[in-house]
Symmetry: D3
């Protein structure tokens, strides 16, 4: 009801609520630069997972994993936007995982793009952008997780697959099929160049499907 952009993403059994909150003006250190600001915060509800995790607010500190994912989402979304054309407006993307079953960070990126797009439209309606709307959001972005399970490359791992994966990779692509970010980890061991190549192919194809779904969701 309240946010300038809001979407509930479902990837399998994973559910992430992505909202975009617009405020006029930018943080103090950026004032007068003519540039806007886009940032992201990721969090999980305590019982989004099979066993309950303690709240980070109660522990009094944000954990390393949360920091890492928030930073990834922020970088990915900033790649889509021309901060000069945005003008001195700030957009915060909140990605809260209500239910988790693998791939929460890639679901968050994919959903946050839709919320961001709505927020840019909201600003455009209010004539609050410095540049033309089409120039502000000049690319789309989507993300998938891919992995190798029992030697086979696989798209969109659910939690049980994720735990079993020998290699785990997140691929973030633009709507044109270029890479924004690639992160691959050999969870149980290491991986060879040909495995890496197969995973990248799979990831690019997966992102293309999601790009299509985003276009539909946005009615474009």
């Amino acid at each position: 009801m309240h946010p300038e952009g809001s979407v509930l993403v479902e990837f399998g059994d994973t559910r992430v609520l992505c909202t975009a909150s617009v405020t006029e003006g930018v943080p103090r250190w950026r004032k007068g630069s003519g540039l806007g600001w886009v940032t992201a915060e990721y969090s999980m509800l305590p019982r989004a997972t099979t066993t309950r995790s303690d709240r980070e607010s109660v522990k009094g500190r944000v954990g390393g994993r949360t920091h890492e994912i928030s930073r990834l989402i922020g970088r990915s979304l900033r790649a889509t936007i021309d901060l000069k054309a945005l003008g001195e407006n700030s957009i915060v993307l909140d990605c809260d995982v209500l239910q988790a079953d693998g791939g929460t960070r890639t679901a968050a990126i994919t959903g946050a793009y839709v919320a961001l797009s709505d927020a840019v439209d909201w600003l455009a309606d209010r004539k609050a952008l410095a540049g033309k709307p089409a120039k502000v959001l000049h690319r789309s972005v989507a993300a998938v997780s891919v992995g190798v399970i029992e030697g086979e490359p696989r798209l969109d791992l659910c939690y049980l697959e994720d735990v079993a994966a020998e290699v785990d990779m997140n691929v973030v692509c633009t709507g044109d099929g270029d890479f924004v970010e690639v992160q691959g980890t050999g969870e149980s061991g290491v991986f060879a160049r040909d495995q890496l190549d197969a995973l990248l192919d799979l990831g690019v194809a997966g992102c293309a499907e999601l790009t299509e779904a985003q276009r539909k969701a946005l009615g474009k």
Copy 2:
């Protein structure tokens, strides 16, 4: 999908996700007592409100209002349960406000009772209770917010009414109409005994309706 009990409560435009998480055993200081443990944590998503609030995890501390409400929910739910009959099991009730439009704490209590009831059934199915199921959850509990607006007592204030209220009261009642907790505050000024009496009447009646709704939701 994951929790032992889970319900999404809607009171007007207020939406609270209440989950109950069961763990075997109790905190260390309670071990060997034969008593179970029920506690609650309340939180708001940053954009549940009309303007975005900073996350308490990022601020590094839980605010006074959050603490106060978590404690109220915990006390209210403990009034429904016989901790001896529960046996050495712990239940955490998480109440996360997805969208707020007044009355979030009373919605949370009302929903948490349903999630708690599911969790007790889950324990009963596993023969993990120390006493008989009916003895464990020996009362139901529901809560409403009532207030005086322009001199008139009113039930279930939405956010705009809440801000305008001269007196704001939370009434927590059992299914039998007894009080568990009463908290009344003169937000802009003070209130007389007859106003207090009128609000209590209204609160008791409101709780009775909710008790009925809880029974239906639980299929009882």
Copy 3:
């Protein structure tokens, strides 16, 4: 010696040092509003109680109970004062419990009113109020704790009675007998409407006695 208002309250064996600190100006977000600001902080010395508690400064966080009581004291005292007539001055009420034997929060409210009254006089002497002194502090406030013990309503519970109480209620009244705040909790179970009514009667009578004592202390 130093504060603008200062009083040591004794309720039975409970001893609370209440001081009022005045500063010119208000917090940044309130500047230019023409309104003053009154806030309260409650704390217990580590050995105010029968066994020593760890300091909240050492634990690095203020506990939920402390937050809850500080907020209650602040709300109660703000009900007595016309913030416009106070003008852009800030008053902090510090209530430090030196020795605790039940009813520390109600003792704190009752004592803080006397300290606040002294502080308003101090400002009046310096011609620093925006309105007339009598208009600034237009009501007095006092508070008592009441409870039901072995079925009997009782005033001013000491610590041992407090622990044994079946219902525990804090009543905050103005000098005219109106309510500012009512908080009742069924500590071991629930309570019926007639018990609530008896406790309210007792609370109002107790506050009237304290109002009289405050008048004497202030030489009015």
Copy 4:
């Protein structure tokens, strides 16, 4: 009323409440050593000073000055006690400054010794000491602040003198006139050996007077 040892020290307008809290047993890392444990915590009420200071609990961290003074008090008091004869008991000395006018740390040490002595007697009465009472507390300790003001050595500086002092020194002595701790600082510049000597003479004499006062207070 509650602590095992408790004293309110007055040095000029400085008032410090010193309490000693005894608990059976020692911290985990010390268990089985046969040694006791004595520690101290110093704190100031927010309005002990001419202007209000923020609470360290609210700031979420204990400041450097508080840490430094707590450690000094702890070291000074541990010099008086035979931890083996104390046995596996812990004593926490809380020194809370109610009103400050210079010399709060030396007043705290002097008062804490009296509270500690009462606590040792309390343990002796309960036959809870490992050694003979006289052996447990085998020395007394007292402390004064001395300084150079306008070229003159001076004892017991009040706040205004303290601020004006060219050299500021804390001298902690045993009842036999030996040193436990000496801390001298050139607040506005430096000091020569003869000034240091004169301050030490003055400090030793001041401690001797306080030792006498302690004996009287303890009825010895």
Copy 5:
């Protein structure tokens, strides 16, 4: 002088002190598993950079970037070691940047491997390993940063190049040329598949050189 393994890595003007600290036993949650534990902590001295940064200890929280790098180092080093053959021993790798000029995280991984190798030898000398030394550290690991500057792929970016890079990639490889981790980011925009391929080639070659340097440093 003190650590079980210690090395000062120099990559251009970047200097990182890597130490390995061994303790017998593992964290509580891992006891009895028969598995060892390897973890890493990364930090920068405040003046390792061109302008001074505030200390994270003073800010009271570890930043997102520090967390992210500590986790990357830990994962990379755990890929080299057989935790079962290590037995229930813990090794902490501390990587402290004394001077920074780009590529601090990859320098840290490369140096930490040498410190870890020394620590494993130290344990082998004391017959404290569960398996054979050669089995414990069954792979080596090294890391480089590569990037695209003015359209050209480049190895080992210094700080000024790093800031100017269009794509920035960290490649972590084993001594056999397999990947442990690949992280590529389009800092100013996006990158195509052929750029990614060129960077991977360059990274693998760079890691091979470092593997050779590690062998020499370890006298193998």
Copy 6:
């Protein structure tokens, strides 16, 4: 490479990296005063000691010992400098212990003076001082630790001696042999006046040697 002043001090096996960071301007509360600001921060790398200590950044709070030493270094260095002649510039002295074997705080003071001197020269070269360079740094400062071991006064205790010392004293002197700070503690018991005198003599002589070494290091 980066700092305005930087020195690696070696006292026996103790190694402290001291850097001076200059920034134009002073903290907000000091603006317009015409006075500069000099402050110090001390820290130990986790494995500077024989066993690893947890990082204060990870613990989320700076410990009492660290605070105490940082404050001592800051006071000592401020005694050498005329803040008016420095003008509205800030200098932060970072003292990071890479390896510890006793006397880290006195090594830090002695090294920080050299770094500070370089930083003042750097400001003089840029004509950024308010007064003449010779007036800004009008004194030098050096520090030693002295102690009594088996009844004998000793200079420059290493860690094993430090632990065994009956009395432990830090002496901070100017190049002219005046005292800036004297801190003596009876670690295992107490000390008499003649012991104190012998330690002061030894400390003054030790500081004189270090003053000479500082002059050489600075090429003066």
